[in-house]
């Protein structure tokens, strides 16, 4: 019973919360508490999904499908599969963290902030659950507006410019996306994802036109990821955005959409684009890492590291192996958790010292040992230390993409050296060595209770996701299996012919 309405509940609860929030008085911390309550409730609701998910098949679940507008035929069609399920949960998980990290950081215009913040939640959740392309597009577009306004309002120094840049980068491709969606509707008479899928698979549409449609989809999503060289907005946007927003500005929306639509709707075209996308992914991976290496501002450093890390996902997506896709989706979640945690940490450091300039810092670990520990664990997760989450994603992407793309994967693997270099150098400059004059002159308290509550769940998740990956990958694999190339049933070695008596006996012995 709940299964039918759960997705609507999850999606619109933040919106309802936002409307009530607008009516609340600006007194004390009522607004913060309310936002926290709403986001926590939403998160709890998202947990219903993995608890009741039926593993083992690839279709959509928790579906609600009702007519909304008769003509044009727009339906209120929500549903999730293994691909989107964990992204919904991730969004739900990050929302209360976003509230907690803004608790003290946003002191003025709190009502505006949390109002837009909650609308942003609804928009993002809507993107993941919509199965009607029109509905999807409405949510997609809606994600841009609160983000742009919040960047403009709460930017550090150049907020408005960054906001406009972000908006234009995102809006122009999105407008084209709308055209492409409408063209699809004109050709097929439906916005329904599955119907479109079969219509396109049936081959009724001209290949030339489909190519362009697929390209428009691709560009719109690639900007949002961002994929090199479309990342011009990222560093500025991330630097200016308030922490809670910067945690969700990049990554999951664009990557999810690439997988869902470019692989799901346009599998043929996606394979045509693949060589280019793989090249751009690997270039972006190395490029982002090298540029991160020489940043002086820690938020810009993190921005380029995110560009680099997200390129792993793009690589995994466009190699079309199950392992690689599993890894790519896992890496999206990792980036949300670990990248998010790093941004939270930057935020709480900024609250104490008021600067992101790396050279202002030094020797913090003696003053703020807890914070140092959290920083170190988070960066280790991001640079892919085994038994933390990042390694699982990276390993699956790289090993899954290896066959057929040796050169690119070798280059991508260089990223493990570079990521260690820029991250550890960053940690060293901020936390080790003698204390800087800023650190010397401004004694502050270590991580407080609220910040502990914000960060420990994320740290815990890094460890758990690092050692118990099947819990997540099981569902993810249900979602991505239909999108992958059929796997080689046997590894190359066994195809060389010959029976393997030794191995067979070993296998038997292990059972």
């Amino acid at each position: 019973m709940l299964n039918g309405s759960i997705l609507s509940l999850i999606t619109f609860l933040p919106l309802a919360g936002a409307i009530i929030l607008a009516l609340l008085p600006r007194r004390g911390r009522i607004i913060q508490w309310w936002a926290l309550l709403v986001t926590l409730a939403t998160f709890v609701l998202t947990l219903h999904l993995p608890a009741h998910f039926e593993y083992g098949h690839s279709g959509f679940q928790f579906v609600i499908n009702a007519p909304w507008i008769a003509h044009p035929a727009i339906r209120y069609h929500l549903g999730i599969d293994g691909l989107s399920m964990w992204l919904v949960v991730l969004t739900g998980f990050l929302a209360p963290i976003g509230v907690l990290v803004s608790w003290k950081a946003i002191e003025n215009r709190t009502k505006e902030f949390y109002f837009l913040f909650l609308i942003q939640q609804t928009a993002m959740l809507g993107v993941f659950v919509s199965l009607d392309l029109f509905l999807y597009y409405a949510f997609w577009e809606l994600t841009l507006v609160p983000m742009a306004i919040l960047i403009a309002m709460f930017g550090r120094t150049r907020g408005p410019q960054a906001a406009v840049k972000f908006f234009l980068y995102a809006f122009i491709p999105s407008a084209l996306l709308l055209v492409a969606i409408l063209w699809l509707y004109a050709e097929t008479g439906t916005f329904e994802f599955t119907q479109l899928q079969s219509a396109i698979a049936a081959g009724g549409l001209g290949p030339q036109a489909l190519f362009w449609a697929a390209l428009v989809f691709l560009v719109a999503f690639a900007v949002k990821v961002p994929v090199f060289p479309l990342h011009g907005w990222l560093a500025d946007g991330l630097t200016e955005a308030p922490t809670a927003m910067s945690m969700v500005i990049a990554g999951k929306l664009g990557l999810y959409s690439l997988i869902r639509f470019n692989l799901g709707l346009f599998p043929q075209q996606a394979r045509e684009f693949a060589p280019w996308m793989i090249a751009l992914a690997v270039i972006g991976l190395i490029y982002g890492a090298l540029v991160a290496l020489v940043q002086r501002d820690m938020k810009r450093l993190v921005a380029y590291s995110i560009l680099s890390q997200l390129s792993f996902c793009t690589l995994g997506i466009f190699c079309f192996s199950i392992t690689g896709l599993d890894g790519a989706v896992y890496q999206i979640i990792n980036e949300g958790v670990s990248g998010g945690a790093l941004l939270v940490l930057l935020g709480i450091l900024y609250e104490r010292y008021g600067t992101f300039e790396i050279s202002e810092y030094g020797g913090l670990s003696k003053r703020l040992p807890h914070m140092a520990t959290l920083y170190v664990i988070t960066t280790l997760s991001l640079i892919g230390l085994p038994i933390l989450n990042g390694f699982v994603g990276e390993f699956l992407v790289l090993s899954g993409s290896f066959v057929g793309h040796h050169g690119w994967v070798v280059a991508a693997t260089l990223g493990v050296i570079l990521s260690a270099s820029y991250m550890l150098w960053f940690i060293q400059r901020v936390f080790y060595g003698p204390p800087s004059s800023l650190v010397e002159n401004r004694p502050t308290a270590d991580v407080n209770f609220r910040e502990f509550v914000t960060l420990w769940p994320m740290v815990l998740l890094m460890v758990v996701m690092g050692v118990a990956s099947p819990f997540w990958i099981r569902g993810i694999e249900d979602g991505v299996r239909p999108l992958a190339n059929p796997p080689m049933t046997q590894p190359v070695a066994q195809i060389h012919g010959r029976s393997l008596p030794a191995q067979a006996s070993i296998l038997k012995g292990r059972q």
């Binding site: 980068y169 004109a186 020489v294 003696k366 699956l396 550890l424 060293q428």
Partner: protein
């Protein structure tokens, strides 16, 4: 289950992990005694467990595999938390838990006055967890957890003195150089997944054994990549440069991690993957060549160092080179034997050096030591045992294990040159070790010139030169006994022994039915003789004696000689003193260009120029949008609602027009 005993192998790594968690999370608030107790118990119980396993070892069917849980399962790829016990793992377990326990005990005394005592023990336990995982793993991916994890522990412990810039630099350097090696290791694993579909030892090796026709080819590629990984972890050419800097860490750490255990992981891995290396003459040959070259060059660098720990660090690099040489001539048993005896005498050397440093309030420069043998007699005598052992005097452990490697190299076709370089290096080893011995314990007491000691005295925490407490001395004594008698485990047949150690490991390294590559440098069955072994033993003992004699001459009999020689061979001395400028070379050829390229070409020209330039239109528009934006910022919530409505309207209008347009097209 029908007769297969459950050894609970997973407990071995889990206990130190628990110790790490307890001390890491709560250690700051716990009393020192409790921190100590937790850390010691977390290593003592695994030691006891290892002892019980040893006791029932002969009753086990090997390899003994215990599966705990699935770690990764994606598509056709699976990897589990699966542990394995065989003879090789057994040896490693004994070394790690045994030496590890002793060094934990020693640390109680050595670290007693340090800030962050709890942090130190937490990291040390963390190291034990990863190291035990490394040797217990049943697949390459789980081994890789340990592999990178020990690197992490090493990073944390090298940088233990967080306020020292040099310590932080050294920690980072170690991690990054290891990452270069890991780059190779990862690629090797990708190749294995591609060709075997799995990373399980049992399955990978079974597939290779089942295909005698696989020679070289992709197995060479895997071997070379694994070797790159091994050179990082085990500090071999070209990645050895991090290890000398790692001496910034506390001395017991140098003993445990940077001498006895972690740095031998590369040797362990090569031995573990010998089935792969045996099929590739190139990969295995390179193991031998890199090992020999590293042994030699590191020894020459050790000659010109004045910091007692740095001498030992280069010595470690050099000795690891011997282990590689042993593996490289397919004498894996000999390589592992040297690993064990080295663990004894090198841990002892470091701990004794630590005892010296402790006595001198932190002075590490041998130029400010001298004449200490009467003042710290137990340290002196234990160190003497280690110096004789590493220099290769019979019947001590270093003699037996090093000679076995040299002998195996000698009797391998094409191995004579390796033998000769190895022998020469043995002479150098004796020279620099006795140099250290004389400079530290003999001659004139030069401690009065030490600024560090003067400084310590001034600040009141200086104390007279004194022997270390018993908690530090007992580990020294135990290790000294092991260094002296350890060789009996593998006493060579040529000298009347039965080579028990090599025979014990033989089932793991058994090459029968393995279709070893015919071009691999290795001793054919029946090569060599007891007679030859005896002659070679005499030759190497004489070489070691030669090294001792020269050191005696230069640093005891005529102490003015070194200065004269350094003057006379200025170029050579400077080259050795500056360690062939390898660090500077890497800096100039790799780090500097990468940073320059990233800063000016990528960041400035491309990112700021091209990519932001492409967004210049956006930037320019931003100026025009200024007033609009100012209104966006008005701060009134109704105006945002208005903006949202405006956006939605815009979308709808566009939609409408496009719709009608597209319908008209129909």
């Amino acid at each position: 289950m029908n007769g297969i005993p459950n050894l609970h192998l997973w407990l071995l790594p889990i206990l130190p992990l628990a110790g790490f968690l307890v001390n890491g999370l709560f250690g700051r608030r716990l009393p020192k005694a409790l921190v100590t107790a937790v850390a010691i118990i977390a290593t003592a119980i695994p030691l006891i467990q290892v002892a019980t396993i040893v006791a029932r070892f002969s009753s086990l069917t090997l390899p003994h595999v215990e599966r705990v849980a699935t770690w990764i399962s994606a598509g056709p790829f699976h990897a589990g938390f699966t542990f394995q016990l065989d003879q090789l793992t057994m040896v490693m377990l004994c070394v790690i838990t045994g030496v590890g326990f002793l060094i934990h005990v020693y640390s109680i005394g050595y670290m007693a006055h340090e800030d962050g005592y709890w942090r130190y023990f937490a990291y040390l336990n963390l190291f034990m967890f990863f190291m035990l995982t490394l040797v217990l793993a049943n697949n390459f991916l789980l081994l890789f957890i340990g592999w990178e994890g020990v690197g992490l522990a090493s990073y944390l412990l090298i940088g233990f003195y967080v306020l020292k810039t040099s310590a932080a630099d050294a920690g980072k350097k170690a991690f990054i150089y290891n990452r270069v090696g890991d780059f190779g290791f990862l690629l090797a694993m990708f190749l294995m997944v591609q060709h075997f579909g799995t990373l399980d030892y049992t399955q990978v090796f079974a597939q290779i054994i089942a295909h005698p026709a696989w020679q070289g080819g992709f197995l060479t590629a895997i071997g070379l990549l694994l070797l790159l990984g091994a050179t990082g972890k085990s500090a071999q050419i070209p990645l050895y440069v991090w290890l000398p800097d790692a001496m910034e860490g506390p001395t017991p750490v140098s003993a445990l991690i940077h001498a006895a255990t972690m740095v031998t992981a590369g040797v362990y891995m090569v031995a573990r993957a010998h089935v792969i290396f045996d099929r590739s003459a190139l990969a295995l040959g390179l193991v031998a060549v890199i090992g020999t070259a590293t042994a030699f060059f590191a020894a020459t660098m050790a000659v010109a160092q004045n910091d007692i720990k740095r001498v030992l660090a280069y010595s470690t690099v050099s000795q690891l080179g011997y282990m590689f040489l042993g593996c490289g001539v397919a004498a894996y048993g000999a390589g592992v034997f040297h690993l064990v005896s080295h663990a004894f005498f090198k841990a002892l050397l470091f701990l004794a050096a630590g005892s010296v440093i402790h006595a001198l309030s932190g002075e590490q420069d041998m130029r400010y030591m001298g004449g200490l043998r009467k003042k710290i007699p137990i340290t002196f005598w234990t160190m003497t045992a280690a110096v004789f052992a590493i220099s290769g005097f019979p019947p001590l452990s270093g003699f037996v294990s090093k000679d076995e490697i040299l002998y195996e190299a000698f009797i391998s076709p094409g191995g004579k040159i390796l033998w000769f370089v190895g022998l020469f290096t043995a002479g150098l080893t004796a020279f620099y070790m006795f140099r250290l011995w004389y400079m530290t314990f003999f001659g004139k007491d030069r401690t009065a010139d030490s600024e560090i000691m003067a400084h310590a005295k001034e600040h009141g925490h200086g104390h007279g030169i004194h022997e270390s407490p018993w908690v530090m001395l007992i580990p020294l004594i135990i290790l000294a006994i092991l260094s002296v008698i350890g060789g009996w485990m593998g006493w060579p047949a040529g000298l009347g022994g039965n080579e028990w150690f090599t025979r014990f490991l033989a089932p793991v390294f058994n090459t029968a039915g393995l279709s070893m590559n015919p071009n691999v440098i290795h001793a054919p069955a029946g090569a060599g003789s007891d007679h030859l072994q005896l002659i070679l033993a005499i030759v190497s003992t004489l070489t070691a004696a030669g090294g001792w004699y020269i050191a005696h001459l230069m640093y005891y009999a005529r102490p003015e000689l070194p200065e004269l020689l350094a003057q006379k061979f200025r170029g050579v001395y400077r080259m050795l003193f500056n360690k062939y400028w390898v660090d500077e070379f890497y800096g100039a050829v790799i780090a500097a260009p990468v940073l320059f390229f990233s800063r000016f070409v990528l960041n400035f020209l491309i990112d700021r120029g091209v990519i932001d330039g492409a967004g210049f239109t956006a930037g320019a528009t931003a100026q025009g949008f200024g007033s609009l934006v100012a209104r966006i910022q008005s701060g009134n919530i109704r105006s945002y609602a208005g903006w949202l409505a405006f956006g939605a309207m815009l979308v709808l209008v566009v939609t409408y027009f496009v719709f009608t347009g597209s319908f008209m097209l129909h």
